[in-house]
Amino acid sequence: MMRWFRADLHVHTVLSPCAAVEMTPRNIIRHAQAAGIDIVAITDHNAGDNVAAALRAAAGTGVAVLPGMELQTREEVHLLALFGKMRDFMKWCGFVAPHRSPLLNDEARFGPQFVVDETDELIRIEETMLLASTDLSLDEAVAQINEWGGVAIAAHVDRPMFSCLTQLGFIPPDLGLAAVEVSRNTKPGTAREKYPRIGRLPIVSSSDAHTIDDFISGPKTMFLAETPTLAELRQALTGEGGRRFRDPA
């Protein structure tokens, strides 16, 4: 039977240097459960080391976690890479790692990058600078995500920085995106008119949360599907098999 799922496809944890320390996987899941957020994609910058903890924290809570990453391409475009299976996501993480910047993170300037477990215990501190461009091109990143069964979404195309529209002027035709994302700055239902270069791609909205307040108050996207899985979300984005989605008005 189909039902509506409330999804946030862009959430940062304490692994992102810009996220608040309250953004542990366990705390995110606890708040998702309390606020009725059914699907949470964990999307840290250029890394996925806190996804496993989120999956374990979510076990038995009814909250579905999607493994994901917010990749920064060499054009300085932010791209969400979402996967249905942890095995595919791990392959993706292994693919991205050697393409990251060789610079080390400067905690004092950018903030610390914590890898934690499902009980909020610190496992290690990531020393690579995650808030930097990889040397992957947008086109090769999207192609690789699609090859491994993932979903590629251009992040916050309405923002003045790190957006496909500002960096590249328009969305390259035949890129293979499943959707574009707009931030809380764009009123739902106005994005296509305001940013005609989005064209006919599906538009989703997510919180891009760096704090629990962002996460609770930020935009979500509603999906009509049978199960809260990536395969079903992909169908909903293209309107297949009776699945569909809508931006919450």
Binding site: E75, E76, S137, L138, D139, L165, T166, Q167, L168, G169, F170, P172
Partner: protein, 113 residues
């Protein structure tokens, strides 16, 4: 001075050689944000950028730019070079950083004016 003479003076590598290079040098524009180039660069100008993505060809063609210089040793992607040749957009590359290309370009452009 033509764009071809400018390319020689800056020792640029021409990766897409088109008739556009025979136009006179008429100012430049520097940005890596393609949306800004689309909105603000003027036809005939030389565009200096570090982006090597194929969209630079479409933007250059849309605005009617004289030539594109990809700086800092960035290698334009294969599709970028192919599209530039196909759409007759003049495309050059150099190891010089953007700062130096822009400075030398400005000197060439304003000399004798």
């Amino acid at each position: 001075m033509t764009l071809r003479e400018m390319a020689a003076a800056l020792e640029l590598t021409i990766v897409s050689d088109t008739a556009a290079l025979d136009q006179p040098l008429a100012g430049g524009y520097v940005s890596d944000l393609l949306s800004h180039v689309m909105g603000q660069a003027k036809a005939g100008q030389v565009w200096v950028t570090m982006q090597g993505h194929q969209n630079i060809v479409a933007v250059a063609s849309l605005v009617g730019l004289g030539a594109v210089i990809v700086t800092s040793g960035v290698e334009p992607e294969e599709q970028t070079v192919n599209k530039a040749i196909e759409q007759e957009v003049a495309l050059c590359m150099t190891k010089l950083p953007t700062y130096e290309v822009a400075g030398r370009l400005y000197q060439l452009d304003t000399a004798g004016k």
